[in-house]
C-alpha cells in the first residue's frame, strides 16, 4: 500500500516537474481551459441575469408587484389625483412611479425614474429588530431618506448604469437646458435601482415637466375586496387600466427570441471552448508520452501513473473552473449593459444589471472542464495503457496514430453531414434549427484536418520532390504537424466561420431593413402627440399651404388569435398604401381591405400564430371580438411583436383609440425646418414629439445596430480566444519539433530559412483553413437567416453576399494565425542545435 502511494507520489512529482521546466505549457492548459469555460459562463450569466430580472421584481426596491395601474395608451399619464384616490380608499400597498428620459448637454439621454420612498412600508410582524434588518437589506447605505425627498435631492444611480453613462460617484451632469444636476450617489447593483437614475418623485416630476402626473402606480398585495373596488373605480376611467404583472411581462415572452440568438452564440462559444480545452489537455499528455514511457520503463506501475495523471487532471479542472468562472462573470459584467439597453429599447423590458453569483455557474464550468478533461485524457490514457513501451517512444508512431485519428474524424464528419441532411426532412422549429447549426459546425470542424491532409498530399504530388526537397519537407512536416495542432485549427475554423456567418446575416438584415425603412418611412415629418392634441394640430396644419397630406396614426393593443399584439389602422390613400411592403398577398386585396372585409398581418404574427393567407384572425377590440380573413402578409422588421393592419374605418367603428401621431407629407418646395419650428412653438412640442423622417430612419438603424452589439462582441472574442488557442498549440508543438529543427539546422539551414519554412507551413494551413471558413460561414448564415431568425423573430429576408468582406475575413484569418504563430516559431527556429538535441533526446 505504502509503496503504491509512493509510486503515485513519484509519478506525480515527475509529471509536474515537466511544467516547472516548461511553465508555458502549464499556462497553455490553464488559459485554454479557462477561456473555453469563460465564454460559456459569460453567455450563461448574461442570459440568466436577464431571465432573472423578468421573473424577479422590476420595482425600485425589489419587491413583487402584483398589478400595475397604468394609462391605457402609450405616452399618456395618470394624474396624481388618481393615485391619491387609491391611497385614500385604502390601497396603500402601492408605489407611484414616474419615468422618462432627460436630454443631457452631450446629446445623450439619461433615464430617470421617480418614486416616493415613503409610500410603501412592507408589512412586518411585531418585530422591530426584524424590520431594521429588512430595511438594511433593501435600502442601500447611501440612501438617505431626507436627502432623497428634499432639494437638492439625492440622485441614486446603480454602478452599472453609471459605468454605462461614464459617470463616477460624486460626478454631476448637465442637462440640455444648461441646468446642472448632481452630484450623483452610486449604489450597488444588488439594490435593483434599475437602469435609470432613481430620484424622488417630486423631483422627477419637475425635471420631466410632468407635475402631478404619474407613469404608473405599482400595487402590491391587493386582496379580493380591493381588486373589486378597483375594478369598479376604473369603470368611469377609460384612459386607465389595471395590468397584472404576469401580463405586463409579455416582454419576457417576446425577448425569448433574443435569448435564443444569445444561446446560439453561447453554444458556439461552448464548442470552441470545448475544442480549446480538449486541445490544451490532450497536448500536455502527448508531450509527456516519452516521460511516461520512461517512468514505466523504470518500473512504475501503470496504475500509479494513471492515478497520478488523474490527480493532475483534477488539479487542472479545479484551477480552470475557478479562473474560467471568474473571467466569465467578469466578461458578463462587461457585456451586460449593452444587453440591458437592447432589451429595454427593443422589448421595453425592465432589466436590472445586477449579477448575483450563482453556484449553478460554477457547476456548469466544472462540467465543461470535466467533459473536456475526460475527452482529452480518456483516449490517450487508453492508448498509453495498451501500447508497448518501445513503440510509444517513436515519433513515427505518434504521427501514424494521429493520422488514424484524422481518418476517424473525417468519418464522423461525414456521418454528421448525413444526419444534417436527415434533419432537413423533418419540419423545422427553433430546436431543430439550433441542432442543425451545431451539427454543421461540428461536421465542418471535424472535416478540416482530413481536407488539409488531402490538400497537402495533392500539392506534394504536383510539385517535384527532387527539384525542391525543402518544400517537400515543409509539406510532409505540415502533414505531420496537422496531427498535433488540428484541434486548434478546428477551433479557429469555427470562430472564423461564425464571424463570416454573423457578418453575412447582419449585413443581409441591415440591407433588407434599410430598404424596408425607406418605403415604410415615406412621410416628411413624424409627430407623436400628447393625448388630446391631435385635433388642434390637425386643424392648424390644414390652414397651411405647404402640407400635401396628413395621416393620423392610431393603434390599439389587443390579443390577436390570443397572442399579444397591436392593431394598427391604415388609411385609404396611395401614400399610406405605399408604406406596406407585402411579402405575399391575394390579388387585388386593397378594395376588400378598405371595405373592412379582410386584414393584413405582419410576418412575425403569421409565423407565431401559424396563420396564413385565407385563414381567419381573431381580433379583440375593446370588448368585441372580430374574426376576419387574412388577405396578405407584410414585412415588419424590427418589431418582434405581433401586428395586424386593418382599415382605419373599421378600427374607428369598434374602438376609439386616440390619435397617437401624425405623419405629414409636404409639398416639394415646402420649408421643412420652418414647419417643424412653427409646430414646436405653437404646440409646445419638444424634439421627441416632432421628428424629421431622416431622424426616425437613423434611430431605427441605431436600434438595429444595438441589437447586434453583443453578437459582434462575442464573435470577436471567440476569434481572439481561438487565436490564443493557435498560439498555445504551436508553442506546445514546438517543443516536440526541436529535434527536427536541430536536424535541419545541422544540415545547413540558416535560422531565417528555417523560420520562413515554418511560416510557409503555417501560411498553407492558415490559408486553407480560412478559405474553408467562408463556405462554412455562409452555410451558417443561411441557417441563421432562414431558420434560426425565422423561427425566433418571424422575419424572412433575402441572403446577400459580401465578397469584399469575405476576402478581408480571409486575410484577417490568415494574419491572425500567422501573428499567433510568429512568436513560438521564432523561438523554435532560434534554439541552438546542441540544446535542441539535448532537449529532444
Amino acid at each position: 500500500m505504502a509503496e503504491a502511494i509512493r509510486g503515485i507520489f513519484t509519478a506525480c512529482d515527475a509529471l509536474l516537474r515537466h511544467f516547472r521546466r516548461h511553465p508555458g505549457q502549464g499556462f497553455f492548459i490553464l488559459i485554454g481551459m479557462s477561456l473555453g469555460i469563460a465564454l460559456l459562463i459569460g453567455v450563461t450569466v448574461v442570459n440568466d441575469v436577464a431571465r432573472q430580472s423578468y421573473k424577479a421584481t422590476q420595482e425600485a426596491l425589489s419587491r413583487a408587484i402584483q398589478f400595475k395601474l397604468e394609462p391605457r395608451y402609450h405616452r399618456t399619464h395618470l394624474t396624481q389625483q388618481h393615485y391619491i384616490e387609491l391611497r385614500r380608499a385604502g390601497l396603500d400597498q402601492s408605489m407611484p412611479v414616474v419615468r422618462g428620459r432627460l436630454r443631457l448637454s452631450d446629446g445623450s439621454y439619461l433615464r430617470l425614474k421617480g418614486i416616493d420612498p415613503m409610500a410603501y412600508q412592507p408589512a412586518t410582524k411585531n418585530n422591530p429588530e426584524a424590520k431594521v434588518q429588512q430595511e438594511k437589506k433593501t435600502k442601500p447605505a447611501q440612501f438617505n431618506l431626507i436627502k432623497f425627498v428634499s432639494p437638492p435631492y439625492q440622485i441614486l444611480i446603480s454602478e452599472s448604469y453609471a459605468r454605462h453613462k461614464g459617470l463616477q460617484a460624486g460626478d454631476g451632469f448637465e442637462l440640455a437646458t444648461g441646468e446642472k444636476l448632481g452630484p450623483i450617489t452610486l449604489v450597488e447593483d444588488r439594490y435593483n435601482t434599475g437602469f435609470a437614475a432613481l430620484v424622488d418623485i417630486t423631483f422627477a416630476q419637475q425635471l420631466l415637466k410632468l407635475q402631478q402626473q404619474l407613469s404608473y402606480v405599482a400595487l402590491f398585495q391587493l386582496d379580493s375586496a380591493q381588486q373589486l373596488w378597483l375594478e369598479n373605480w376604473l369603470k368611469d376611467k377609460p384612459g386607465l387600466r389595471l395590468q397584472e404583472t404576469a401580463r405586463a411581462s409579455d416582454a419576457s415572452q417576446l425577448s425569448q427570441s433574443f435569448h435564443l440568438n444569445l444561446s446560439a452564440m453561447g453554444m458556439l462559444a461552448f464548442i470552441v471552448g470545448l475544442f480549446i480545452s480538449y486541445n490544451a489537455l490532450h497536448f500536455s499528455i502527448m508531450q509527456r508520452q516519452l516521460l511516461v514511457c520512461r517512468l514505466r520503463a523504470s518500473g512504475l506501475s501503470l496504475t500509479s501513473i494513471m492515478l497520478a495523471l488523474a490527480i493532475e487532471l483534477i488539479l487542472w479542472i479545479t484551477l480552470a473552473t475557478i479562473t474560467g468562472t471568474v473571467i466569465g462573470v467578469w466578461l458578463a459584467k462587461f457585456l451586460l449593459p449593452g444587453v440591458v439597453l437592447t432589451l429595454e429599447s427593443l422589448f421595453r423590458a425592465d432589466i436590472t444589471s445586477t449579477i448575483t453569483f450563482q453556484w449553478r455557474w460554477l457547476w456548469q464550468a466544472l462540467l465543461l472542464a470535466i467533459a473536456s478533461g475526460f475527452m482529452a485524457l480518456g483516449f490517450p490514457l487508453l492508448k498509453l495503457a495498451k501500447t508497448p513501451i518501445l513503440l510509444l517512444q517513436s515519433r513515427q508512431h505518434q504521427v501514424e496514430t494521429g493520422r488514424g485519428h484524422i481518418r476517424q474524424q473525417t468519418l464522423t464528419s461525414l456521418l454528421l453531414t448525413f444526419f444534417c441532411g436527415a434533419l432537413f426532412l423533418i419540419p423545422g422549429s427553433q430546436l431543430v434549427s439550433l441542432i442543425l447549426v451545431a451539427c454543421i459546425m461540428l461536421a465542418a470542424a471535424l472535416l478540416l484536418p482530413g481536407l488539409l491532409q488531402l490538400l497537402l498530399a495533392t500539392i506534394r504530388r504536383i510539385i517535384n520532390p527532387q527539384r525542391s526537397p525543402l518544400l517537400d519537407w515543409i509539406l510532409a512536416d505540415a502533414s505531420a504537424l496537422l496531427t498535433r495542432n488540428n484541434i486548434a485549427l478546428m477551433a479557429f475554423l469555427l470562430a472564423l466561420s461564425a464571424n463570416v456567418g454573423i457578418l453575412t446575416m447582419v449585413g443581409s438584415f441591415r440591407l433588407t431593413l434599410t430598404d424596408y425603412l425607406q418605403s415604410r418611412l415615406n412621410a416628411d415629418i413624424y409627430l407623436s402627440l400628447p393625448s388630446g392634441q391631435a385635433e388642434a394640430i390637425t386643424s392648424w396644419l390644414k390652414t397651411r399651404q405647404d402640407i400635401r397630406h396628413i395621416t393620423a396614426y392610431q393603434y390599439q393593443r389587443s390579443r390577436l388569435n390570443n397572442y399579444p399584439g397591436t392593431v394598427v389602422a391604415l388609411g385609404n390613400h396611395p401614400l399610406n398604401i405605399a408604406t406596406v411592403k407585402l411579402q405575399s398577398g391575394t390579388a387585388d386585396l386593397w378594395p376588400a381591405f378598405f371595405a373592412g372585409k379582410s386584414v393584413l398581418i405582419s410576418e412575425s404574427l403569421a409565423q407565431k400564430t401559424a396563420t396564413g393567407i385565407g385563414d381567419q384572425l381573431a381580433v379583440e377590440l375593446d370588448s368585441r371580438r372580430l374574426s376576419l380573413p387574412v388577405s396578405g402578409i407584410y414585412y415588419d422588421y424590427g418589431n418582434p411583436a405581433g401586428q395586424v393592419l386593418i382599415a382605419d374605418t373599421l378600427l374607428q367603428r369598434h374602438a376609439q383609440p386616440p390619435i397617437r401621431g401624425l405623419r405629414l407629407y409636404l409639398h416639394d418646395k415646402a420649408d421643412l425646418n420652418g414647419l417643424l419650428q412653427a409646430l414646436k412653438e405653437h404646440f409646445d412640442l419638444d424634439d421627441d414629439n416632432a421628428v424629421q423622417q431622416q431622424k426616425v430612419f437613423q434611430l431605427s438603424l441605431e436600434m438595429f445596430e444595438q441589437t447586434f452589439q453583443i453578437t459582434y462582441a462575442l464573435n470577436s472574442l471567440t476569434l481572439l480566444v481561438a487565436a490564443i488557442g493557435i498560439f498555445c498549440a504551436l508553442a506546445a508543438v514546438g517543443f516536440a519539433q526541436q529535434k527536427q529543427m536541430a536536424t535541419l539546422k545541422s544540415l545547413g539551414l540558416s535560422q531565417r530559412q528555417l523560420l520562413s519554412s515554418l511560416l510557409i507551413q503555417q501560411l498553407i494551413l492558415a490559408g486553407a483553413t480560412a478559405l474553408l471558413a467562408i463556405p462554412v460561414g455562409l452555410a451558417l448564415s443561411w441557417l441563421l437567416i432562414k431558420q434560426v431568425n425565422f423561427y425566433a423573430f418571424g422575419w424572412t429576408m433575402p441572403m446577400t453576399l459580401f465578397y469584399d468582406s469575405y476576402l478581408l475575413m480571409w486575410v484577417v484569418g490568415i494574419a491572425a494565425i500567422i501573428c499567433s504563430s510568429l512568436l513560438p516559431l521564432w523561438r523554435l527556429s532560434r534554439i541552438p542545435v546542441m540544446v535542441a538535441f539535448r532537449e529532444a533526446i
Binding site: 391611497r87 415613503m118 418585530n127 422591530p128
Partner: protein
Amino acid sequence: MNLRLKKPGRAIIYLMMTLILALLAGCEQKEQQPTSYGKFDPTLAADTTTTLEYAFKNVSKDYRLQFPHDHGPHPQHHIEWWYITANLEDDDGEHYALQWTQFRIALPEQANSGAVQLRQFYLAHAAIGNSQQHLAAEKYGRGDIGNAGVQRAPFSAFIDHWQASSEQPDSLFPMRIRFAHSDFNADLRLINQGPIMLQGDNGYSRKSADSSNASHYYSMPWLDISGSIQLGEIQAEVKGQAWFDREWTSSVLAPDQQGWDWLALHLDDGSALMLYQLRSATAAPFRFAKWMAKSGETRTFTPQSIGMEPLVYSTIAGRQIPTQWRITLPEMGLDIRVSPLNEAQYMALSQPYWEGAVFIQGSHSGRGFLEMTGY
C-alpha cells in the same frame, strides 16, 4: 416646586419626533449613519437638537388659544400632533384598548429659487388590543404628494385611509375616526362631553425650568366614543371613553432622561387624573400629577407626595417592563393598584414603546391608559 412640565407620555413622542427630525435634518454630521426612517437612537439626541429652529414660528406665552381655530394645523411650527386614546367595551363586556395619533413635522428645504420653504411630513400610529392580543401599525405620508395632510375646517387629519374628521365645519366634535391595517381596523364616532382643558399656563406649557422650551398644549379628557372595530378574527360593536390631546411647538427637548411612565385615568366619579414620572439615569425620578373635574376645577400636587411604585415586571420583546403599579396621592387620599388589560400592549413599531389600557382598583376605581418608554 411648580414646574409645569408637559406630560411625559407626550414628551417621549415629542422626543422621538425630534430625533426623527434630527436624523432627517442633521444628516450632514451623520453621514456614516444609515438613516432608515424612524430609527431611534437616544445617543444621537444631544448633538442634533435645534439646527433648524430659526426657520419656525415659536410658541409664545402671550398667545391665547382660540377654538375651533387651534384644532387645525399650525404649519409654521416645527411639530404638532393629534392624539386619541380610548377604553372600549363590547356588548359582551369584553374590553378593548385603542390608540390613534397623527404627527405633523415641517422640514425646511431650499427650493431651486434659493428661498427656504417648509415641507410637511406626517406620521401616524394606530393600535387596537384586548386581553388576548395587541396589534399596532404606523404610516408615513408627505404633504407634497397629497395623500396625507391636516385640514382646518371641517377638521380632517389623514394619511391615506387613516383619518379623523369632524362631522361639522365649525366644531371638532362630533368626530369620526377610521383606520385599517391588514389585520385590524376601526370606524368610530367621538362626542365631547366636557370642557377643553388648557395645560400649563393657559395652554402655554413649559418644558424646562428656565422656560427655554415650551409648547402649546390642551386636552379634552371627556369624550364618549362608539362604533365598530375589528381585531384579528373579532368583529365588535363597542363604546367607551376616550381622551384627546393636542400639542404643537418648534422647540426641542434636551433629553437626559431614560424614559417616561405616564398615566391618563378616568376615575369612576367622573373626574380625570393625569400623572407621570421622568426617569433619570443620575437623579431621582421627577414626578407630576394633575386632577381635573368636568366643572373645570383642577388640582396639582407636590412632586414629593406623588408615589409611583412598580409592582410587577413583564418580559416583553426581551425587555423588562413594569406592567403593574402602585400609585399614591396622600393629599387626596388616593392609593390605587394599576393593572393592564393585557401585559403585552407593546407598540412594535419603528420606535417601539408600551402603551395600552389599564384598570385601577383600591381607594378609587376606574380605567385609563398607561404609556411607558425607555425600557
